[in-house]
């Protein structure tokens, strides 16, 4: 009797839990669903129910050069920041995972710091720093593309360090030693043994780095410079003015791009193992 009721209450609990989990997932996905719906409205005003459906807002994106220019700049900055971030971040991660030296923990924390410092603080401090450097060196650093990219590299580095060190966590060093005992040079050992091990970490770092840079808003607001805009800034500024199917269509394209990047990356690394 008692055991029966416990089994029942367990089943009930299980249902309640699944229901609650579904509701929470729905809540998180709700805004994406509605912005997608709005992109296909026929009328311009976002009122429900829609008068009908149309694809014309996707065509009207091209009439607004801010979105296209913003997209191009975001793409250029994100790709550059991702590549440079990997080039200097992956060796640093290898060093942290493989070498034992005094101050290793401190260096690890330092490299993860850009992740902890809020975007707004990051943006203001780098802005102020650029002001000072521009005054000292008389080089046009303030509001330059180089300054913008440097800021983005900064936020890519901690993801490289974190994901690549994680991918080396369970790695057995004796495999490398075995390779060298069998006559492989250190370089050859790296490319034939170490690199294949950390490849999932590098692919994940590339995805996270790209996404973090592409979507960055707060820091970029301070660094973008006069007369330029990135896609997230263009979307924010448009939304501060109004919400209509055009901006919804832009949003849908961004959702599609991110989803595409995730699916492509997922073919190389199971994302559920990395996150």
């Amino acid at each position: 009797m008692t055991s029966h009721s416990i089994v029942d209450s367990r089943r009930l609990g299980r249902w309640a839990l699944n229901g609650a989990a579904g509701a929470v997932l729905g809540f998180v996905l709700l805004p994406l669903f509605f912005v997608t719906w709005l992109a296909f409205f026929r009328q311009e005003i976002p009122s429900f129910p829609p008068d009908g459906y149309s694809l014309r807002w996707f065509a009207s994106i091209w009439n607004n050069p801010k979105f296209f220019d913003g997209f191009l700049l975001s793409l250029q900055v994100a790709v550059t920041a991702m590549v440079v971030g990997l080039v200097i971040g992956v060796p640093a991660a290898l060093c942290i995972a493989r070498f034992r030296f005094v101050g290793r923990e401190a260096l690890n924390s330092l490299l993860l710091l850009p992740l902890v410092v809020p975007g707004i603080v990051l943006g203001t401090s780098i802005y102020v720093f650029h002001v000072e450097v521009t005054i000292w060196t008389e080089l046009p650093i303030l509001g330059s593309i180089a300054g913008l990219v440097a800021g983005h590299i900064l936020i890519v580095i901690p993801w490289c360090v974190r994901l690549v060190t994680a991918s080396l966590a369970g790695f057995d060093r004796s495999i490398e030693e075995a390779a060298q005992n069998l006559g492989a040079t250190p370089v050859r050992t790296f490319f034939r043994v170490t690199l294949p091990t950390i490849r999932p970490g590098i692919v994940a770092a590339a995805l996270f780095g790209f996404v973090v840079s592409f979507g960055n808003l707060e820091m970029t607001l301070f660094l973008v410079g006069a007369g330029r805009t990135t896609l997230p800034i263009a979307i924010l500024q448009y939304l501060e003015w109004k919400i209509d199917p055009t901006i919804a269509a832009v949003s849908v394209l961004q959702i599609g791009l991110i989803a595409g990047a995730m699916i492509v990356t997922d073919r190389f690394v199971k994302l559920s193992r990395v996150v």
Binding site: L29, F48, L107, L154, L217, I243, A259
Partner: protein, 300 residues
């Protein structure tokens, strides 16, 4: 004798050389990133602090000085203190709700073994990757006077006049909640995954109901996950930008937007720097305090 001594010296020499070589390799590997983060982040934060001690005169803009005037102004002017307490309030409310809501989803993902698990994680990560502004756009579609929510409620006959949801604290809290939930879910999920399922089964077989099992077994074990997720959520809310700007409107000023207003619109760099510094300090101090309290309470 001599031979073995020589061999010993040679060995130690070789070891030293190798250690030196390894150290230089290590430096070569980690050097660039270290220099980059030091110059790109640590120096700028020092400069930010220095700027916050400068003086400001409208028209003249920034004046070199060494004064705590900006900090005093911040904590005495009701406009700024209101923004500060508003931000704190929203952060506490969002964190409290977020931790509760994240649990069921985190648990289900952690305990699912089929290919659904993969899909679930992708569905949680996708909104995280799509920008905050895009998600705010979704909420704007829902919350407007003729938005989905008001039209549905009117159609159901529950309200006569559209509710004003846009540009309220509720809208901001809902928006930030949805932004932060994926982070907390993923943090919590990884901790729950590390808890042996047999522990739960043991509690059940000893006669505990689901609630008792949760309270007495799962909650204490998953506490580090709750704490880490909660802290993450608190930091994110304190520093939120796009969501309060878009869903709260120009009247609902939180700390993040306040920094931007002072910098970009008022051109008051010293005050803007002070606000940014206060924001960073408040976030760090409160998270450290929360961490300490929780650790002390549950050590026994």
């Amino acid at each position: 004798m001599t031979a073995s001594a020589t061999a010993g010296t040679l060995q130690s020499l070789a070891a030293r050389e190798m250690r030196g070589g390894r150290l230089s390799t290590a430096g070569f590997l980690i050097g660039p990133a270290t220099i980059f983060v030091t110059v790109g982040l640590l120096f700028p934060i020092l400069f930010l602090f220095r700027y916050s001690l400068n003086d400001f005169k409208p028209g003249v803009l920034m004046i070199d000085a060494f004064t705590i005037k900006q900090y005093v102004l911040f904590f005495t002017d009701p406009y700024f203190t209101a923004a500060f307490y508003r931000t704190l309030r929203v952060a506490v409310v969002v964190t409290a709700i977020c931790v509760v809501l994240a649990f069921p989803l985190a648990y289900v993902i952690a305990r699912t073994q089929s290919r659904w698990k993969h899909l679930l994680i992708m569905l949680v990560v996708l909104p995280l990757f799509v920008g905050n502004a895009v998600r705010a756009a979704g909420w704007m579609t829902l919350f407007g006077n003729k938005g989905f929510l008001n039209v549905s409620l009117q159609w159901l006959g529950l309200i006569d006049e559209p509710l004003r949801i846009m540009f309220t604290e509720t809208a901001v809290i809902v928006g930030i909640l949805a932004v932060n939930l994926p982070y907390v879910v993923l943090t919590l999920q990884s901790v729950i995954e590390g808890i042996d399922r047999a522990v739960e089964e043991a509690a059940f077989s000893l006669g505990a109901g689901p609630m008792t099992m949760f309270r007495r077994v799962l909650l204490p074990l998953a506490l580090p996950g709750f704490v880490a997720g909660g802290i993450f959520c608190f930091i994110l809310t304190m520093n939120a930008y796009a969501t309060p700007v878009l869903l709260g409107g120009p009247q609902f000023v939180m700390m993040g937007p306040l920094v931007y207003i002072q910098f970009a619109i008022k051109s008051n760099w010293p005050l803007g720097s002070a606000v940014a510094f206060i924001l960073m300090a408040a976030t760090l101090v409160l998270t450290a305090a929360a961490n300490l309290v929780v650790q002390r309470r549950y050590r026994r």
